[in-house]
Symmetry: C2
């Protein structure tokens, strides 16, 4: 077979994987947005069938043979960057599963399905003991998985690499230590201040009106409704089926409009990433966000750095008032801005504010790393969790349901994932700083509602590259920096000193 023929076959092969993934994506979206419940069990089976086909195709000996041909020097130098990048992505997946015994993998999939059920019960009852046996097996598998996959330095690096390629515990330890040192005292300080008045936020805001406002905000953000749609769900998400079909979902709380507004902006940030990946990457494994952290940098940038900025509401507060007649009468822009930036210690990660959020993540990272390295055991988790909550946030859960059991991630076997949430904040602050240099009129653009140049900067520097650049390359090319927590620390310090009037004292 000629090199050209192998290249062509490889391209068709990865395209087929991408097609199956698009079908799986649509079925997942459908299940979460409005599929009739009586068909759900069977739909799950269909997703299972297509997913195992993707798994087989992604790890097949045929793929390995094609890759080994493509890796031969005379062929390799003839490949374009996209094909080279695609080969590398395929190799990552192969490496990920290469040494995992098939029976162990299958058992793990079944285990996590059972564990998620057990977790739900355990969480409701605050009963860690009933979940512990599942979690022990999951942690065992994760430790083995790290060993099968291999790693340099810390064993946890094997897991990190699945979500945040290029990042290691050494770097994260440094970044998270800096964050702790800055945020913990800041949270202490603001806890002593009077919190902004927020009662009026919780008045009735009709869902239909919230929907209309959410659409307006997405349009403002340059989300393309010709290449997407907005639907309602229980646990909001954005999903890129292909670059021309990137869907946002959100949920509506009639008595707390913040859920929909900030949730939509957050998911809209994810969606802008997927909508603006370069079309030449479509159908390849490069057509997606380069890491969980960089993806989260996009959602957090829009939700917080834009959506919770004073300038954003300079433009949008009047619009909000139009959709919620009466609710904000007599409320000044300044009062409103402070109200949507209220911060302070809380127990639940997904309800945490922008300031304290990273502390929730750091807690989980420290526990995960210790677990994977065998420094602590699953049985120690509840106690360690509560100790760390007290240390980082000064509060303690009254039961494990609002403590160690609050997140589904561990039940689903997602170890190594949590750090990306905080890294997303760090990246977002770095990108903002770089953007402010490139766009000196940054603040005016936001306060005048002209968000297109901001979206274009992100497309230029982040979105379009898909997985062609890894997270650190994105940072390097966009900001000329390595990962650096100082931008986030400055941002948070400046903002919360202002919101909580700390500078006036």
């Amino acid at each position: 077979m000629s090199s050209e023929a192998i290249v062509e076959e490889f391209q068709e092969y990865i395209q087929k994987i991408s097609h199956l993934e698009e079908a799986i994506g649509l079925m997942t979206w459908d299940l979460r947005t409005g599929a009739p419940k009586k068909g759900a069990a069977r739909r799950g089976e269909v997703i299972g069938t297509l997913s195992s086909e993707v798994f087989q195709l992604s790890t097949s000996s045929h793929l390995k043979e094609m890759i080994s041909h493509l890796n031969q020097e005379e062929t390799w130098i003839s490949l374009d960057e996209i094909t080279k990048g695609s080969v590398k992505e395929c190799e990552k997946t192969i490496r990920k599963f290469e040494n995992v015994p098939a029976d162990e993998f299958k058992a793990f999939i079944i285990l996590t399905a059972q564990a998620e059920q057990a977790w739900e019960d355990a969480k409701d009852k605050g009963d860690f003991a009933s979940f512990q046996p599942y979690l022990e097996k999951i942690v065992d598998y994760q430790r083995n998985y790290a060993d099968w996959k291999g790693f340099k330095g810390n064993r946890y690096n094997a897991l990190l690499d699945d979500f945040e390629p290029g990042l290691t515990t050494d770097t994260i330890d440094e970044v998270f230590t800096q964050l702790k040192e800055a945020i913990v005292p800041l949270v202490e300080k603001i806890s002593k201040q009077n919190a902004p008045e927020t009662n009026y936020l919780f008045k009735k805001f009709p869902v239909e009106q919230q929907k209309r406002f959410s659409r307006k905000i997405l349009e403002s953000m340059q989300y393309d409704f010709q290449a997407g749609r907005l639907d309602t769900t229980v646990h909001p998400f954005a999903i890129g089926l292909n670059p021309g079909d990137v869907r946002v979902t959100t949920k509506y709380d009639e008595f707390d409009f913040r859920t929909a507004v900030f949730g939509t902006i957050h998911e809209g940030g994810h969606a802008l990433y997927e909508q603006n990946i370069h079309p030449s990457l479509a159908g390849t494994p490069l057509a997606g966000g380069t890491s969980m952290g960089i993806h989260e940098s996009q959602s957090l940038f829009w939700e917080n750095f834009i959506g919770r900025r004073f300038g954003f509401w300079e433009k949008h507060f009047d619009l909000l008032k139009e959709f919620a007649p009466g609710q904000f009468q007599g409320i000044s822009l300044d009062e409103f801005y402070k109200a949507v930036n209220v911060a302070g210690p809380s127990l639940i990660r997904i309800e945490a504010d922008e300031l304290t959020y990273c502390l929730h993540i750091i807690l989980r990272y420290e526990l995960e790393k210790a677990l994977i390295n065998g420094d602590i055991e699953v049985t120690d988790l509840p106690e360690k969790w509560n100790e760390k909550m007290e240390e980082l946030l000064g509060i303690k859960p009254s039961h494990d349901g609002e403590g160690v059991l609050q997140d589904v991630h561990w039940a689903g076997g997602a170890f190594g994932y949590f750090p990306s949430y905080a890294l997303g904040y760090v990246y977002a602050a770095q990108l903002q700083a770089a953007m402010q240099k490139d766009l000196p009129q940054f603040e005016e653009l936001i306060s005048s509602g002209n968000l297109a140049p901001i979206k274009e900067w992100l497309t230029e520097n982040v979105h379009q590259h898909g997985k062609l650049k890894d997270p650190l390359q994105i940072l390097h090319d966009a900001a000329g920096e390595k990962i650096d927590a100082s931008h986030l620390i400055h941002y948070l310090t400046d903002k919360y000193e202002e919101v909580y009037n700390l500078r006036e004292q």
Copy 2:
């Protein structure tokens, strides 16, 4: 390999096909109900990839080997009815393509895609000549296809068999001749009468209200919203993804509520069929309507025999008035009933009424049969079409766009499909007659809105069997009859003599 192992492998194999078909079905539904347009081209490719996988699986030598094992007598007698039926369904598909040369098939798929484009243009311009070369190639292929597949008696039987297994031109000639002889003079008679007043039907009826009424009607029909949903589309359809997920689509015309109401009832009839196929058939090739005609019998039964019945509106007219306040003020139930049953010759099949519809089908059947047998050629079609329109309906198209070019079916290569539309009417009338015997309180059930026993009768006699029974078996077991046009003729004669006051003269 043991017989048991082969049976198990076969069952997994057909389940995989069914899973792929469910994914294709959802993607098709999505494209037609709200998928963003920028993603549509790629979605088409994904559907193409999965469809060719289904085709390969359905015709693979591996499947043929499994079937040949299962057909061995000692194995065959050990199989349950569902497995036997599944084997036979697989054999049908294999036979369908067995002798079709792969390159001819591929060329035909490409040809029909091009022909549909050419047809759209040709139809808009009323320009048959520009479409003729495509249609000639399609007819050539269909003639060859019939020869490759093989047939008894008339060559057209090979095509009929794909849509209406067990039916032949001999039977259809007889049935259609009876229909013509009864309907043509009846249409002539009513054309001389004063038509019912219909102006008030076309007042503004807000779409949101039509949607609510459509949902009510589906609930009345016993459509299960826990196993389905109602969405908006351009060309309405119902689609069964699995027995727990059968979706209805409809469209709304603000100035003609009949489009949505009767369209929803029609698609609801299809959906009831798919929702009530026996759960044990799920995941097998038997989980679908047994033929196009029987499927159409279900939609037409509900649309016309129920939905356009006086008794139905005895129950539902007041409800309709609630949703359309004012529009029907001062209109009596009798006037309304006659207005929604207005009938008479018209040019366009999809806009034709219940009385004249079959004549449109008979015209197409006669032309198709002559074409496939080489009795006429494509070039003769426009003239023959217009002659037959005059003969059957007494009117003539002013151009081919409203004549021979009006339907997409031929461009798509669907020859042998049209007869099923009229057979659906014939079957529906036979089923109604049988139902009336089994349910002596039939009329009261309808006028009191108690439609559950009617739906249950259909489930018992039609729905649950899926493809386990062929059309003639369904008729035999439900009605104790062969196909018989007299029920439809009696129904139409009775009804339209009443609506057009022919009996009083």
